[in-house]
């Protein structure tokens, strides 16, 4: 069989202030019809640039060399006009951000028709029929009516479906999907991946799936290409790659991902250091500086991607690949795992620990107004509507939920340290409603925050010393004490204290996040609020930051309120978890209990939607795929907020359904696990157990 797409010796470079950036350096692959090739790699590894050069969508200042053949036709060197004959027709692309990939001023129908008209000669009626057929295929309800809708009337997941519909409109032979689900929530991600698989089945197209998420690759890819510093370092069938990686970098990646399906608290394996600068690459293997198995010969010449002895389908770019494969080395052998620090509070049972934060029935509603001059209130956005949880000394409580569930609003309400609109918030036993200005200023020392984006959380114009000194000065520390403390803080978070004179832009993302953590720790707080602290980091870096957080908590006994959407990170780091849906906590309790036996149907669906970084388990798994999207928070819902999407409600008799629709459930259950559901799942509920059995196997 001939490959539909064949890339040979692709090189791409860009101009920059620092010199020429060699973003892609020699990519080779063949894509067979109907197969899915997953390209994985961390940011800056060249995976997106590879896909954009195949589509011919790179910026003018890029220089592309090599060969890209689509069904035997050379694409490199074609003019824009010639390329457009192939783009959208024989090869199509699904972009990461569905918000900006559709034109806001044209209806969905117009945009589909545009794709069809460009490459096919159809009359209006045929175009309409085909459009309806396509929308139906990607699972958009009432396709005939929705053709007239505009992109802003669709949710993110729906827009991504439309993008897929446009991509498959002309029966392409190759679909390139560049991080198609990264911007989506996990339950929506599960839906979209299903749609993509279905689209592939219908068209018989080959798919190039670009992603940083090993779980997604495990679920959809047939073959995987791992990229590092602009080069492929390993290529293998998906099962082979996950079971027996041959290149130390791949081993490290697999060791660095927290597993959502495993409870035991295994330390994560961070890969030391950062990827090299693409401007100024070292001689030899670009991974050598971070590789635990490095030898002298690694630094002499860059290894080529060659077959590995004894594994016919695996290619690896490592001089020691044959040797490693023969010995069956895994990441546990290759990487040294530092011991976790001993916790000082380990021996104290939870019930005897001090409560550092208590939130009870917290409410935050925003008025929705219309009109410019005379504002009138047209509704209420119930961003947070009854959130209850508590955090005790030295533990990590996680708030989980999809976007729009009110996690961040909850955090901001706590951080403001002002009387809440409704409900009660107490920090270290002090009710926020009764605080004097003085007490509030004092509490600021005990409560600190770390933000998601390490780029924007540090002032780019202040050297690290000033960044760290800021909270200390506020609380009146003297200069010599500040100096000593900053030295101590830098060591605590694993940075070189000599680097305090550098500016944030000189540090990598992971290091910046460490600086942000150091700043939060500076004044010895009792509680640190972490708002998605690792979601902007690559997995290998993320592992290091998670380990750091665990060690800091053990050493200092500080409590964490950890907000994240990544369930695997949460299972790894937190001891208690509160699951939020549409402004309410629907389930809370001990992390292990909630993850192994969820009682709320939403928690169950959320857990089953998380992709596992293990292709065999991924295939054997039963998914609870939720229908539809999150309802708008403006809607008045008298009963259970999850009722509209609930898989359990659908199976209930009419009477019980009415109860779900009209009566708001409250958190009930034992001390270790509370759920807000009228008909909570039990350990023996149908379907549930086998999901867990398979994931545990």
């Amino acid at each position: 069989m001939n490959p539909v797409l064949s890339v040979r010796d692709l090189h791409v470079s860009f101009a920059s202030e620092a010199g020429t950036v060699r973003a892609v350096r020699g990519v080779n692959f063949d894509l067979m019809p109907g197969r899915t090739l997953g390209i994985v790699g961390e940011s800056g590894s060249g995976k997106s640039v590879t896909s954009l050069s195949v589509m011919g969508l790179l910026d003018e200042n890029a220089r592309v060399e090599g060969s890209i053949r689509l069904k035997g036709t050379e694409l490199l060197g074609l003019s824009e006009l010639e390329l457009s004959k192939y783009r959208g027709n024989e090869m199509a692309m699904v972009f990461q951000d569905p918000l900006s990939a559709l034109t806001p001023v044209f209806s969905i129908g117009d945009q589909l028709a545009e794709a069809l008209d460009l490459h096919q000669d159809l009359n209006r009626k045929q175009v309409k029929e085909r459009s309806i057929e396509l929308l139906d295929l990607v699972g958009i309800p009432n396709p005939a009516e929705r053709l007239r809708a505009y992109p802003h009337q669709f949710s993110g997941g729906m827009r991504q479906r439309v993008m897929i519909a446009i991509a498959i409109a002309n029966d392409p032979d190759v679909i390139i999907a560049d991080e198609p689900t990264t911007a989506l929530d996990v339950t929506i991600q599960a839906q979209v991946l299903d749609v993509l698989k279905k689209a592939q089945r219908e068209t018989g197209a080959a798919v190039v799936m670009i992603t940083h998420d090993l779980g997604v690759v495990a679920g959809v890819a047939d073959d995987v290409l791992v990229m590092y510093a602009g080069r492929p370092v390993e290529q293998a069938p998906v099962d082979e790659l996950f079971a027996r990686p041959a290149m130390p970098y791949t081993m490290g990646l697999l060791g660095a991902v927290p597993r959502p399906d495993r409870g035991e608290n295994r330390r994560l394996v961070p890969i030391q250091g950062n990827p090299p600068s693409l401007v100024d690459l070292p001689v030899g293997c670009p991974f050598a500086d971070r590789c635990p198995l490095v030898e002298d010969r690694c630094r002499t010449a860059e290894p080529d991607l060659l077959p590995v002895a004894g594994r016919p389908e695996t290619l690896a770019a490592c001089v020691r690949a044959d040797e490693l494969a023969e010995q069956g080395v895994t990441f546990e052998d290759a990487y040294e795992v530092a011991e976790a620090a001993e916790s000082t509070l380990e021996s104290v049972p939870r019930s005897e620990r001090e409560v550092v934060l208590e939130v009870e029935g917290l409410k935050r509603h925003f008025p929705l107004t219309k009109g410019g001059f005379l504002r009138r209130r047209v509704g209420t956005v119930k961003a947070v509507d009854g959130v209850t949880f508590d955090v005790r000394a030295g533990e990590t409580v996680a708030l989980v939920g999809e976007s729009g569930s009110g996690k961040t609003t909850t955090l901001l309400e706590i951080m403001k340290l002002e009387a809440p609109q409704g409900g009660r918030v107490a920090v270290l036993g002090k009710n926020l409603e009764e605080l004097s200005t003085r007490e509030r200023a004092g509490l600021r020392r005990d409560l600190q925050i770390v933000f998601q984006d390490p780029m924007s959380s540090l002032d780019p114009r202040m050297p690290v010393y000033d960044v760290l000194a800021e909270p200390l000065k506020v609380h009146g520390w003297s200069r010599p004490k500040v100096n000593a403390r900053i030295d101590e803080l830098m060591k605590l978070v694993g940075l070189n204290p000599d680097h305090v004179d550098r500016f944030p832009s000189q540090f990598s993302g992971g290091q910046r996040q460490r600086i942000a953590i150091a700043r939060a720790l500076a004044v010895n707080p009792r509680l640190i609020v972490l708002d998605e602290p690792v979601s902007a980091l690559d997995v290998s870096i993320q592992a290091g930051v998670i380990n750091l957080l665990e060690d800091l908590q053990a050493q200092l006994g500080v409590a964490f309120l950890f907000v994240a959407h990544d369930l695997s990170v949460i299972r790894h780091i937190s001891s208690r978890v509160a699951v939020m849906y549409l402004g309410q906590v629907v389930e809370s309790g001990d992390t292990e209990a909630v993850f192994t036996a969820p009682r709320h149907p939403y928690t169950q669906a959320l857990l089953s939607a998380v992709p596992l970084p293990d292709p065999q388990l991924e295939r054997g798994r039963k998914r609870v795929v939720l229908e539809g999207d999150l309802p708008s928070p403006v809607e008045e819902i008298p009963g259970c907020r999850f009722a509209s999407r609930c898989p359990v409600r659908a199976t209930l008799p009419a009477d019980d359904q009415r109860r779900c629709d009209t009566v708001l459930p409250v958190l009930t259950g034992g001390d270790d696990q509370l759920a807000a559901c009228h008909f909570p799942l039990t350990r023996t509920s149908a379907g549930l157990t086998d999901v867990r059995e398979t994931t545990r196997a």
Binding site: S13, F14, A15, S16, E17, A18, G19, T20, N61, A62, R63, P270, Q272, G273, N274, P275, P276, S277, V279, D280, D289, M415, A441, R444, R445, L447, Q448, I449, F451, Q452, D453, S456, S457, L458, D459, P460, R461, M462, P463, E470, P471, V474, H475, G494, L495, N496, H499, D501, R502, F503, S505, Q506, F507, S508, G510, Q511, R514, A516, R519, G544
Partner: protein, 311 residues
Amino acid sequence: MADSELTVTAAAVLTAEDEQSTGLRRTGRFTLIARRFARRPSAVVGLVLLVLLVVFAFVGPRIAQWGYDEPDFLALAQAPSAEHWFGTTTGGSDVFALVARGLGRSLAIGILSSVAITVIAAIIGTTIAFFEGWVERVGMWVLDMLLVIPSFLLIAMIVRSSSGANGWIWLTFGITVFGWIGYARVLRTLTLSLRELDYVHAARYMGVRSFTIIRRHLIPNLGSVLIIQTVLGVVAAVNSETALSFLGLGIKAPDTSLGTILQAGQSVILTAPWVLIAPSVALVLLTFSVQLIGDGLRDAIDPNSRSGGRA
């Protein structure tokens, strides 16, 4: 994560110098901007022109054979000659000396008021945006009210009541007092996005005082905008100074400025065109060069511009 990795960030090229001292990174930023600035020929031309004009304003009065306030009654309305390089006015004043002095005045007024406008606008604009709530509402209302004041007229009235010697200071004052309002509105809009950045939130949650946040985090991060605004503001200020003086509402004799000379020249444009031509050329060169510099700076500071060169 060990220290070894610190050398591999995107700024790897700069790290070697940075090992040595604290301030080097800042120099690095300026070098970068200078390099990008130098890549635009038009910006360099503008800078050279401006330097020449400034030199002319400083050195001109010293090398001229006549002072701007000592008329040569033996040479009324004379064409350029060896003695009067740019000719003389109908009153016998040396046009070279007048233009050198007038250019200096115009430059002084332009630069002073532009800097003052930027400082006032930065403080008020960021403060209004930072405090949100009623401060923002009242502040915006006041700004909108101030915008409708007929500033040209008021400046004219202020300058009219001053004496000839310190008239230029009053003119600078007038241009400043009525010039910052629009800029303050622009800066407020820019601050709206800045105040939502995490480091500003972080500072608030740490308990840093509001004015410290404004001074430490907000204003420095508007830096590039402020620089460009100050440079381009010079053109605007020079233009309004010239216009006022031309109408006889600005600088008055015995002091002089480009506008005053132009006004003297326009009545004799047919008989003694050099009186008009010399200051016009000086004015055009001045605004043109500053404009070129402003454009060049904007592209050099803006990371998204195309000053990055080619692969």
